[in-house]
Symmetry: C3
């Protein structure tokens, strides 16, 4: 066993101890600085940037209109900064079909009698933590509380720690036409107009498709992340809300693309409570042709194993 | 699509921008005031009222005897105020029978070998948030930490935001005989004496029925919220704890009524881990005669789609 | 009913009221003291002890390297104190086999295609609260954020309140050879080297077995807590990480013992997502010979109904 040579280990430990003491002094100043952010009074990362001139990415304290305080991640660098992380969509398992962990579709099983599923796109539930946002679903009060104009989306490989999200992301983009103002200022308002609900309409009843600006990646790389067959029925360079497929299943958003066809369960995420056989889930049918990824309708491994982080500004 | 006329939208956005700036200044002062509540040291909303003379409904900070800090909603107006929201019972789906989301009965399936179900009426688990209390189950440390005398109950339509609860409630009442003092000061103590457990006793072994005073609604409206057949076997004007039905299923409370019969799965809520076929759940058998509500044993749509908010004072 | 004699009760209530007022004054000073701990800037309980000279067990505020603030329990007395509670493993039901509540193995059912199960031994998800740590699973950011040298483990009967954990514990011990420094400073790093994953290796591929020092209990009492047949295949006086059984099921730790055989599903806890028939769960097969406990492979009732609390220092 690795502990047989305890003496050597002990020496190492002492050496580490000295390094640790030096680190500790630096860490304390650093932690103190982070704790002082508790003084900020702001309802969004944009407020923090504008009022307190903070330009460092990281965790900040926000306050809802009702006074609820929470911490979340602010992207303070992209396009001038001021982006508030409000949610992440994380697929915990393609084997569980609308089971535990599928908070952005349904945890109640695939059921046409529960057309809204868990309803989290349209309610004030919250779950998860910012530091766990790439290991599990995340939703904070900013999702319904902040009044914003634009969105930014990061696809970050699962389980990456917060301090490396920016560099680790396989795709990052934002909108810049202030579309959210037209739909009530946030997703809870937008989805009131376009419910994420099974059987609410047909494929032609999808919500808005908003042009995007790339911060990392481009139209070509976006297309490559989805399955070859999907590429034939979407246009990259957009984020689309409330897509509906051939079988009247509803999805919340298509990240990076605008559907031109109706098999969008292969490239749109989130959902209501019912899908065609074996497709219900947070990433509905990203694994359709499960031949190792990137074949037929199946998305790339990079895409299926990355959490989708949603920001407002 | 709604974005075709982008120019017009842009103009609107700018106009909204000016309004937003004015709002922002007011909001900042408002948020600052809310954040200052963090200075209060109190174990209940009653403390906040008595010590700091606050009379505004809203979120405040409370501290448990062990020092755990949490935010919850205080009703500072009803009957002099000082009511702490400690829990909400929310039925997420009548199709899931003691499945995910049924925290006030069981998430482990209907199972006679798990007589206590999830046991949340009698333990120190907490879940949910005050702002999400009408979208999902909620329980904060006050449930077990506060030593109180009376209870207040609000039935608030699902998904209503906190700032409108008071006006939106379909039924609001409180007790005034200080009954909680006799049962240990809170529900965790009361349910030690009257466990919410399958097969713990028969219909005659129910816990106390406490007279209530109405703050919104009355005995007549209470009766109308439940099914016509139920009305024949309860008396309105009470809140009753630990009811037991014919099949020895246990429920935590009957909101607004005192049972005189033993089919109380149709008008009492919360529960142990086992009920007669297809009745297990947070609102056990509120949908028995599922003919659209308000028929046979089935409660009104208003009642089945409202969260039950529990307050202490 | 207990409320028939309301007059007597009323008198009692008034009397209690006076006592309450006296208590209130003491409580306020106490709460104020606890709230003042919010000023501490520290990443672990060891920091709190060293920097602020606190020697009282209880809840303190910690800050992660990214600035996330959380409260957890510090054991400030055992062997000089400075122990941070980072997690608890709580078995909610032996009837649910990798179902809701089995966060330390899998909530997705027993499934060989999900070898890591929920993966919480190796990710940054968090759940539960310190005050609820004996009523449900608990994991805070310290689990992955703190850089520690040793571990301490307490087995505390389910549902015991925090203020009585120390006295109520049936077994308490700690390591003192700074082994964690060799494995990256915490469990998330250790389990990177020794994944808790079905089919990752055979029984001989277990991780380190670290000698322990008892704070309550001894080798004899440790042995007695497990089943008679188990005693034949472990040595007490150790904590062992990542055990693997005959059927290639992986467990996270064996509390108090070092396996010498391969039926460790009867005395090790936590796990990947797949076990032999009917053994998947947070306490995998503690109930194998379900004859009332303490027979065959079945652990004692004391052990199966106690949460396992994990501390770092």
């Amino acid at each position: 066993m690795s502990l047989e040579n305890l003496e050597l280990n002990h020496t190492n430990t002492i050496r580490n101890g000295n390094v640790a003491k030096l680190l500790t002094r630096t860490n304390f100043a650093r932690l103190e600085k982070l704790r002082n952010r508790t003084r900020y009074v702001a309802s969004s990362c944009k407020d923090i940037r504008d009022r307190y001139h903070e330009h460092e990415d990281g965790l900040y304290y926000l306050t809802t209109a009702n006074g609820m305080v929470y911490q979340t991640f602010c992207d303070m660098t992209t396009d001038g900064g001021g982006w508030t992380l409000v949610a992440s969509v994380h697929e915990n398992s393609f084997l569980g079909r609308c089971t535990v962990g599928d908070r952005w579709s349904s945890q109640q099983g695939n059921n046409p009698n529960l057309p809204d599923g868990d309803g989290n796109w349209s309610n004030r539930n919250t779950f998860g933590t910012p530091e766990g946002a790439t290991s599990d679903d995340y939703k904070n009060p900013g999702y319904y509380d902040i009044s914003a104009q634009d969105m930014s989306v990061w696809h970050v490989p699962n389980n990456f720690p917060l301090e490396h999200w920016n560099l680790a992301a396989i795709l990052r983009y934002h909108t810049e036409n202030r579309f959210l103002s037209l739909y009530g200022g946030n997703l809870i308002q937008l989805f009131k107009q376009f419910p994420v609900r099974y059987n609410v309409g047909s494929c032609s009843d999808r919500g808005p498709a908003i042009p995007i600006v790339y911060d990392f990646g481009d139209e070509e790389s976006t297309s490559q992340f989805y399955g070859p067959r999907s590429r034939a029925e979407f246009v990259p360079g957009f984020i689309t809300f409330r897509a509906i497929n051939n079988e009247r299943g509803a999805m919340a958003l298509c990240s990076g693309v605008k559907p031109t066809g109706c098999n969008n369960e292969h490239y749109c995420i989130g959902g209501g409570g019912y899908f065609y056989v074996n497709q219900c889930g947070d990433f509905p049918s990203f694994d359709y042709d499960s031949l190792g990824g990137d074949q037929g309708w199946t998305v790339s491994k990079e895409m299926s194993e990355a959490a989708v982080l949603l920001f407002y500004r």
